[in-house]
Amino acid sequence: MKFYVCIKQVPDVTAPLQIKDGQLLQDSDRMILNAYDASAVEEALVLTEAHGGEVEVVLIGSEKSKETIRKALAMGAHTATHIQTDDTGLDSAVYARILASFFADKEYDYIACGKQAQDTDSGLTGGMLAEYLGIPYATNAVGLTYDNGLLTVKRQGDIGQELIELPSPGLVTCSNDMNEPRIPSLKGIMQSKRKEVTTLSTDDLGVDANALEVKTRILGFEEKPGREPGKKFEGEPEDIARKVATLLDEESGVL
């Protein structure tokens, strides 16, 4: 089974963030593998370990994002493709277009993506990519099983879990509730240096200029407005109860 996993490098969300003059400032320039993608890598590794096959990770990003590719290879992914671009302002649609060009001539059983990226939380790329490739697509998987060439996707619904059959070739986006991504072992770390990483540009992929045009731009960042202070009642219980009832009934109309 050939599994592709699309991964993204994102800022370390545990590091302190500040917003200044509409810009996002970070204390550390530490970048990490998007947690949802880490779950996708983990699941692809578990499935290929059990049923045979290979996992290739694909990442669009700068030179620095090579370190994130190495992390996925250290976890156990077999090969990687790095689609190198220095443009940090790409939106989900452009990512999906670039990936669609990459996958156009590829043979694969399944593509897995994180259900969203920790930096933007947009959750669009996977769906758009499936649409561009014209392949079936399931979202927000919390579990994957593989049997007789078919993937069963477990999704968390409001009432119980939904099981979906996903024919091959297909695309699934993964939740981080799916598994506990493995920590790379020293062997994995040392072997990752020797694994094959193919570096491509968007030109190499023949992505046309129109597809690379970003249609949505981030204008800036604003502080989240603080919550309005609540009301505090003091006095005798009876009194307070009456006041609260009046508030709920007449002023706010909740009752």
Binding site: D29, A74, I183, P184, S185, L186, I189, M190, S192
Partner: protein, 387 residues
């Protein structure tokens, strides 16, 4: 984001490999060790499942080359890993420290090709090792050891009692120093590879300790233990060299353990002082507390620079004896003072076991004792600067 000129490396600037192992060790410590720390300290025992995970992570054979099924890493990677593990639990820290910097190190350096092929894959992947030098009557004066080895055909027959042996409870491979010719003094000391299941070999009393409680420290008894000649590590009569040279390097590992302890206590204190409110403010808002935190951070940074520099000197094949002694001496001072201050800043909460800092304090004390007491480090430093 400014660009970093990596051609002018700071001591604390890690290579990609070192950084990846540091992060992996950090994550492993947080996810696998932290939830068990309190229980292991109370039970005075390492969780056997955790030991398995140490092997799976490759943390028990970091420098063992890949051709012997080890991690193929470097000495500096061992140091970085020991620091990260000790940041969460110094018992787990010394568990891997002894394996990597003493036992594996001795095999790598002094083992014959056959010995390496036989023992290194086992040490990297399944069996814990222990290093048996000290005895009841010989600690600082290690070469006054009394354990004896008498030649008998193709074997040596070992007798004696070793005290304070770290990992003895879990270990299956013991590096035992015994004297083949007491008349020759230290020049009779020889290193032997002894397996736990050998007849006459036993692990005896387990010490009930102040700190690093989950790390086993036991007496090891040798009663007519027959050890085949091919289990002599290095040359006969050169065991003192094996001991001295491995300990010289091992000290840097203890330095790493100490800065890990100090960092762990500091991280907890930094978080706590920003949460704890008195007089209507976080206590970290008081300048008096801020200065204490600043001093702790500076002390840790100083100790870390000493440890990293000693490790880099060793890695690059330069002299490091004095620097390693300085690193161990100073980092154990820092570990003790930082963890003590951490308790002060936690107030009453620092004194009870629901909070982590009292354990860091207890664990720190060992740094001034094992692998050469602080006085022995000072003696080494003095000898070097006065020669």
């Amino acid at each position: 984001m400014s660009t970093v000129d990596t051609t002018i490396p700071a001591l604390t600037q890690l290579s990609d490999d070192e950084l990846m192992l540091k992060e992996a060790a950090f994550e492993f410590a947080e996810s696998a060790i932290k939830p068990r720390v309190h229980e292991m300290d109370e039970a005075a025992k390492l969780d056997p499942d955790l030991i398995k995970q140490f092997f799976e992570m490759g943390l028990m054979g970091i420098e063992i080359p890949e051709k012997y099924q080890g991690g193929g890493g470097t000495f500096f990677m061992s140091i970085v890993a020991i620091e990260q593990i000790s940041r969460v639990d110094a018992s787990a820290g010394v568990f891997m420290d002894v394996q990597n910097t003493l036992v594996n190190n001795a095999f790598l350096r002094w083992g014959s090709e056959e010995q390496k092929q036989k023992w290194l894959p086992i040490l990297a992947n399944e069996k814990v090792g222990a290093y048996c030098l000290s005895e009841a009557g010989s600690g600082s004066d290690a070469f006054a050891l009394k354990a004896s080895a008498k030649e008998d055909g193709g074997h040596f027959v070992l007798n004696g009692a070793k005290l304070w042996i770290t990992n003895a409870d879990e270990a299956e491979i013991f590096l035992v120093f015994a004297n083949v010719n007491p008349e020759a003094g230290y020049k009779g000391i020889t290193a032997f590879i002894v397996e736990r299941d050998s007849d006459g070999f036993s692990v005896s009393k387990k010490e009930n300790k102040l700190g690093i409680r989950a790390s086993s420290t036991c007496e090891v008894l040798l009663e007519d233990v027959r050890v085949p000649k091919e289990n002599v590590l290095g040359e006969i009569g050169k065991g003192y060299k094996v001991a001295m040279e491995t300990l010289n390097e091992g000290r840097i590992g203890i330095g790493a353990q100490m800065i890990g302890i100090a960092q762990g206590a500091f991280d907890a204190t930094l978080a706590y002082t920003q949460e704890r409110k008195q007089f209507g403010k976080a206590i970290s808002d008081f300048q008096g507390v801020q200065f204490q935190l600043a001093r702790m951070a500076t002390d840790i940074e100083t100790a870390r620079l000493l440890v990293y520099n000693a490790a880099r000197l060793k890695a690059s094949g330069q002299k490091f004896l004095k620097e390693a002694a300085m690193a161990k001496y100073y980092s154990s001072e820092v570990a003790e003072s930082v963890t003590s201050l951490a308790i002060d800043l936690f107030g009453g909460y620092g004194y009870v076991k629901e909070y982590p800092v009292e354990k860091f304090y207890r664990d720190s004390k060992i740094g001034k004792i094992y692998e050469g007491t602080s006085n022995m480090q000072l003696q080494t430093i003095a000898k070097e600067i006065l020669k």
